[in-house]
C-alpha cells in the first residue's frame, strides 16, 4: 500500500480539498503535506483551499496544518460564510424556510428564494420561479419552475395544473413535449428518479399514485 499517500489533494468546484488519511503519525502528515505543495510549485499558486479533511486529528493540529498552508505557502482558505451558501444544497425540503407569493406571476416576472416557494396564483409562460427547495403552485404552472436550484435532487414541483414550459430540478432540465397535451384535471407532482424528471398525479388522499 505504498501508493496511498498520507495527504491527498482533491479539486472541487469551490476550491481545493486537502484530505488526510486516518491513523497517520502527525509528523508524517506534516512532512508529506509540505513536500507535496513544494513539489507542485507554481501549480497551486492562487488556488483557494476549501478545507482540510482529517477525521482523527485534533483541532489544534489541524490549525497548525492550516497555518503552514496559509503562511508558508501563501494559500488562502475559502471563507466559511461564502462556503455554506454555495456548498450545501438546501436541506429544508421536508420542513424549512418557505416564501409565500400571493398573486399571478406574469411573463417576465421572477420569484427566487433560498428555500421553498408557494405561489397562490398562476405562473404564466415567460415567468420563472426559482427555489432552493420545493415549489408548490396553487394554480396553473405554465412557465418555468426550478426547484432544488442549488443542488437538492429531492426537491419537487407541484401544481394544480402542471403544464410548464420547462421543469428544472437541481441540475436536470425537462421540457414540455412539442405536441399539445390534453388538459389533465388532477394535481401533479414532478420529482427526480435516477437522472430523469418524472411527473405523477396525486390522488385525493394527497399521496402519489402507487403509494399506499
Amino acid at each position: 500500500m505504498v501508493s496511498q499517500k498520507a495527504v491527498e489533494f482533491k479539486g472541487t468546484k469551490e476550491g481545493l480539498l486537502i484530505k488526510i488519511r486516518e491513523n497517520q503519525d502527525f509528523m508524517v502528515v506534516k512532512d508529506s503535506l509540505i513536500k507535496q505543495i513544494d513539489k507542485a510549485g507554481e501549480f497551486f499558486k492562487g488556488a483557494k483551499i476549501l478545507d482540510i479533511e482529517c477525521p482523527d486529528i485534533e483541532d489544534e493540529k489541524k490549525e497548525e496544518l492550516k497555518s503552514i498552508v496559509q503562511h508558508h505557502f501563501k494559500l488562502s482558505f475559502v471563507e466559511k460564510e461564502e462556503r455554506i451558501e454555495i456548498d450545501r444544497p438546501f436541506e429544508g425540503i421536508k420542513e424549512g424556510m418557505t416564501k409565500f407569493h400571493h398573486g399571478t406571476l406574469r411573463s417576465g416576472q421572477q420569484v427566487s428564494y433560498q428555500g421553498n416557494i408557494v405561489v397562490f396564483g398562476d405562473v404564466n409562460p415567460g415567468a420563472v420561479v426559482t427555489a432552493y427547495g420545493n415549489i408548490v403552485v396553487f394554480g396553473s404552472l405554465r412557465g418555468i419552475a426550478h426547484a432544488g436550484a442549488n443542488g437538492n435532487k429531492d426537491a419537487t414541483v407541484t401544481a394544480i395544473h402542471l403544464n410548464p414550459t420547462q421543469l428544472r430540478i437541481a441540475n436536470l432540465i425537462a421540457r414540455a413535449p412539442d405536441e399539445k397535451q390534453s388538459n389533465k384535471n388532477t394535481m401533479e407532482i414532478a420529482g427526480v428518479k435516477g437522472d430523469m424528471v418524472y411527473i405523477e398525479s396525486i390522488n385525493h388522499k394527497g399521496k402519489k399514485k402507487g403509494e399506499k
Partner: protein, 266 residues
Amino acid sequence: MGKVIVITSGKGGVGKTTATANIGTALAKLEKTVVVVDADIGLRNLDVVLGLENRIVYDIVDVVEGVARLRQALIKDKKHQGLHLLPAAQTKDKNAISPEQMKELIGQLKEKFDYVLIDCPAGIEQGFKNAIVGADEAVVVTTPEVSAVRDADRIIGLLEAAEIHDPKLIINRLRYDMVKRGDMMNTDDMLDILAIDLLGVVPDDESIVISTNRGDPVVNQIASMAGESFRNIARRINGENVPFEEFKIELGFMERVRGLFKINSH
C-alpha cells in the same frame, strides 16, 4: 463571412417577428446556415413563433454577461439543420445590453453563419439602436396603413443616419380585394412615399395566424400564399431574380361579370 440583416419597422404589430421567423426558415430551406437573433429583450416572441420556447435555457443576456457561452445559448430548430435561434431574455430589459456588446456578439455570429437575421423591437429607443448596430443591411416591414408607412419612413431616415444604406421593403398583410376596390393603399402608393426597393409583398392570410399559434412558420406549408411570398423573399435575399408574384383573388359573381364587360369594352 455571413451577412447581417436587421428586420425592423418602427411601428409594432406589423409582422417583424413573423417575417424574421419565415425568412430565416426559408433561407434554411435553401440550405444556408442561418441564425435568427431576438433583440426584443423583455418582450421576446421569436421563440414562440418558431415553437422553440420550451428549449430555452440560456439567452442573449447570459451570453453577453458571460454566464453562458454562445454555443450553449444557440437553439437548433426542430426541422431545419441550418437554422438556429438566439433567444432574448424575458426577465431583463433593453438596457441589459450595450451597443458595443451587441456589435461584438453579432461579429461572432457573422463568422459562423451565412445569414444573421436580427428581429428588431418596435420603437426607436435603445432596443432599436442595439438591433441595428451590427447590421450590414436592413429590411423594413410595413402594412398598408398610413400610420405604419409613416413610421417606416422615420425608420428609413434613422437607418440612413446610422449608415445602413438601401434598405429593402416588405409590404405585409396586403388585401388585394381591398386594393382593387380602392379601399386600401396599393404597392405603388407606398413605394412612392418610401422610395426604397421592394423586396416582396405578403398577402393577408389566415394561415399566418394558425401557423404562428402553432409555432410552425408558414413557409413550411406549400399551399399557403403568404408562405410562397416569404419563400420568394428569401430567394431574393439569396441573390436570385424572382419575379413578383401575382395572386388571383376570389371575386364575387357580379364582379366577375363586371370584369368581363371591362375586358370586352376595350
